[in-house]
Symmetry: none
Subunit: 415 residues, 2 copies
């Protein structure tokens, strides 16, 4: 099966946003064993969108659209395709009900244009969107399959994991699908991981290993084309055993989840609790751990002490440690240690992590950008402090510091 | 002049990399007043690349290629275009000399394949690449202009700032470039904004208005084609005056910055300080405000109190308000108010914001998902509490709650 991805949106042609959706879709289609030969981008213009459909139809069996399903006037993917296929547009009632319910919940009046998000082509399959309002559409005509998905990346991803995935699998029929498993690693860089697995990556024929990095984490996709899921599982398991022998001590999950999810699960199953005391990371550690649903059971809370005054007031760090001649300073091994110790005692938790460092762009206390101390305090154990020298911009330094602390916490939880 | 961008590379079709080059090129072409109607991506395959050239030639006057100029076998953009245009390939001697010099400097032997990077089409213009080895090519035939640029983003950008820029300006002659300004709004949704500006959006000829939403914020792009930047400024200013009359009370910036940057600037210029007390948002408010470099001057810090115990301990909220028969509960107007008041006093700041609510997916205290109370405490002013009923998933509810509080804080800072 040959596919073409058509992203719709003038903002892409003007360069206002990067076409990450094309990447998301390409990865997904590759996983399903569908070849992508072309990607196209076309603006919010009916004539040119129609032109793109005509061209795509000649060179592909499956056209996957992203964008143009929203409520505004320039959202017109469904309208143009309906006209092209000579089908009328109908209201998908469950989606309409959802939109109405949302507005009535908010107590605001539904703007007429929001109806647009509930339309679909007649005799097509509505695809549920659990992350937004616009319903997706799958339709097959004259041997070509058309899949219409929303433009907001969050909605696109949610649908590719659910309704759109099911629809795509129905279309492929009996192509040998590609099965894959994502392994997630902590405390190791992408090139280091690749180095340690290089011979496996090069020698593998049937099973392919592809490392990639995202959001401060490293993943390895293990893929195999197989007749059935059971056979695929067997082959993937064999590869995973080899991988674990080399880098098992960095492997925190055999699925694509961030490490905070694993940490949450480990805390929950061992009935242990956590708190955080952050300075340079500004709440990012807390934000990530609380992004996991149900984290309130294990994460009691934390502080963001951005000034010395607040470190003193909320955490009881002596000002003499933070300021003045001969003081260790806020960015120091001593302060990180005491922040973690005191936070753990204040919150009465099993673990507390702390962060203090220089995220940049400017230096602080004469200390260089990228110098970060993290500490991990544990009930009835010695507190460990780690000195990090991190590269990257402000955002990257903050993220890397948090990922380093999460790795140490995960280690402590699995010991 | 109409242009099409053609990115060449199988790695794009497999989703291994994001097509940031298309964005870079789109921005550049818009600046030069060249309309981009299509972007395409094609793999390292001669037949399909030729197909893409044929289609592009029919719908554009300028085809800009990126990728496929390198030394390896699958780099074939020059080869395919030369064949398509019936031109032979020749060696560009200065580029060849540069490649030879580099290898002799390194003391290594030049691999034969490196010669490929010095080739160009006969009777074409070589475009100097000061960031890499592959020479660019500009060529015009039968009324179509072809520009061949390298794939590595660093090399592409360097050439767009020098040799390719000059070549493009020669092609356009005296076309008017497009100028645009981004307006950013808070406290108003995309469809509501469009509704209020609908007649302006529809009636405008020369100046175009395009609303779009991203990351919980709403932006409006105001664009105009003009002979000079000064004339463009004038026309954009005229449009902005009309926009301000309608929705000026939501307009927080006339450039593409998140509202936390504006808040940071307003706090700094008025020498006022801020703290935060978060529950359901888990540190997201603090994380966003501290993502702004230099925010330590205004943001003193905050707490993330995820349990009642922590709300009591760190913020002094009476347990009788949080738990038990007849208590208001953690998710209540009263708790939000006291969290903000107490946080402001503890941190001794001019402002404090607080958040308490149900981010989901489960309900809490029998209260529905999406119910969030935010409070804004100000020195010597009454504390304001807002009840929000937010839609979306956990992540979206948290983001929307933070954006709502940022909007209220911005309002207070501009009063």
């Amino acid at each position: 099966m040959k596919a073409e991805i058509i992203a719709v949106g003038t903002e892409l042609l003007l360069g206002q946003i990067v076409n990450t959706n094309a990447q998301t879709l390409s990865v997904k289609l590759a996983e399903l064993g569908i070849d992508v030969y072309f990607q196209s981008v076309v603006g919010d213009n009916p004539g040119r969108l129609r032109e793109a459909i005509e061209i795509g139809r000649k060179r592909a069996d499956l056209l996957v659209f992203t964008g143009g399903l929203g409520p505004t006037q320039d959202d017109l993917t469904k309208e143009v395709l309906a006209q092209y296929l000579n089908r009328s547009l109908i209201i998908h009632e469950p989606s309409m009900d959802k939109i109405k319910a949302l507005f009535s919940e908010r107590g605001t009046h539904m703007v007429e244009s929001n109806r647009k998000q509930a339309i679909m082509l007649e005799a097509s399959e509505p695809l549920h969107n659990n992350a937004g309002l616009a319903v997706g559409v799958g339709v097959v005509q004259d041997g070509t399959a058309y899949l219409l998905l929303p433009g907001p990346p969050r909605e696109l991803k949610a649908m590719l994991a659910s309704s759109a995935d099911q629809w795509l699998r129905q279309q492929i029929g009996n192509v040998k699908p590609l099965y894959s498993r994502i392994l997630k690693f902590a405390g190791i860089g992408e090139s280091n991981l690749e180095d340690q697995l290089l011979d496996l990556i090069e020698q593998q024929q049937e099973t392919t290993l592809a490392p990639y990095a995202k959001e401060g984490e490293v993943a390895l996709r293990v893929s195999v084309k197989a007749e059935s899921e059971a056979i695929a599982e067997q082959k993937i398991n064999a590869a995973v055993i080899q991988i674990k022998e080399r880098v098992g001590h960095h492997l925190y999950a055999e699925q694509d989840i961030p490490i905070e999810v694993t940490i949450h699960q480990l805390l929950r199953s061992s009935r242990r609790t956590l708190a955080s005391a952050e300075s340079c990371t500004g709440g990012l550690f807390a934000e990530l751990i609380t992004s996991v649903p149900g984290s309130s059971g294990e994460f009691k809370g934390g502080v963001v002490t951005y000034t010395n005054e607040m470190k003193h007031q909320l955490l009881g760090i002596p000002l003499s440690m933070l300021e003045g001649d001969g003081a260790a300073g806020a960015v120091s091994e001593q302060t990180a240690r005491l922040m973690a110790d005191n936070m753990r005692q204040i919150a009465n938790t099993d673990f507390a992590v702390s962060f203090t460092g220089v995220a940049g762009p400017g230096t602080a206390e004469g200390k260089p950008v990228g110098l970060v101390y993290i500490a991990l305090a544990q009930r009835e154990k010695d507190t460990a402090v780690y000195e990090l020298k991190l590269g990257g911009d402000r955002e990257m330094i903050r993220l890397r510091a948090v990922k380093a602390a999460q790795y140490r916490l995960w280690q402590a939880l699995t010991q």
